[in-house]
Amino acid sequence: MTIDMNAVMASLNLMWMGMLAIFTVIVVIFIVTQIMLTVGNRKGKFLKTDENR
């Protein structure tokens, strides 16, 4: 078994880039969702989630 140090370094690089990318996508989704909810609730046309199904 030989360890490819380039692969190890690339995987560490992938770790922070990957987590950063995932958090970026999720945070943007969170912000947009929160805006949608705020606007939706202001209009008052909503159903409580546990009541609408």
Binding site: M1, S11, M15, G18, F23, V25, I29, F30, L47
Partner: protein, 382 residues
Amino acid sequence: MDFLIEGVLELFKPDSWKVWVMFVIGGVLIFLAIKKELEPALLLPIGFGAILVNLPFSGAINQTMEGIGEVQGIIDWMFRVGIEASEALPLLLFIGIGAMIDFGPLLANPKLLLFGAAAQFGIFFTITIATLLGFNLTDAASIGIIGAADGPTSILVSQVLGSQYMGAIAVAAYSYMALVPIIQPIAIKLSTTKKERAIKMAYNPQGVSKMTRILFPIIVTMIAGLVAPASVSLVGFLMFGNLLRECGVLRTMSETAQNQLANLITLVLGITIAASMKAESFVNLQTLFIMALGLVAFVFDTFAGVFFAKLLNLFSKNKINPMIGAAGISAFPMSSRVIQKLGIEADPTNHLLMHAVGANVSGQIASVVAGGVILGIVPTMI
């Protein structure tokens, strides 16, 4: 009349022990599926397929026959067409999964989205461990994605990255998903105190309009597509299924996607995966490593979710039960049930199910985004 015993003799050749190992593996998977009811929809077809493709001169896989040449086998054909050429099977399954998911608990408390992101850490941690064990980056990334706790994502990523270990990866992904009720309680108890597990969380959901429910899958697809374009097929098919569910005018199609489509694809996908479980490529040390690394991925997903929740608690007035972070893995609904059970175990009046479900479905989104991110980044690093 030699042809009648040709197959039997083949089984007793000195180098046929690997075939016997595959029969045992197939049998164990069928046993787990039927007796223990662990992911039976997948493990049963995979187990039976493992036997099917390893029978000597099996007509289910491509064979070279004397005087005829190469003869197509159905499982190899399905693998080539349904997975290798187009990734159609795992992607179509996402439509069914999307139609099954109710994002309501997540939309009612969108902060839970963050736990889905945090609980993908196990993927990247496992990739690093895999490279330290000598796997190249593409194989390591394919192994790490087991931590997405999402079978179709694991299959798709390992296929696109051209990993030779897809069979072992699929088996590990589905096996550990089934074992979440055993793995997660141990990992959670190792990383939390009883006092932390007993933290109560008030459930005050925000109202969710029908318009928000409809816009959510469209917006998630667009955001994920713009930031991580490689995730479009994964996220897009998942969210398309969810749009079918939420639009309210395609009830029959939504039900078809949730039931007939999901069942049919699951059935075909399971037996097709068996094409990558031929003894000569499956029975080796790497398969054992992959099974161990899959466990590492699930455990570190759980740890990351728990510690992320603890980190948020340092800055938050309303304390979050750290176990909610562990529900950020995609294994739905097993993980939510585990959290609810552990919450009640710590304090019989502690009901965490709705929070856990919200974090759990956010894990569904984050895991496909993680798959897309890996597909986008890894090829640039090779």
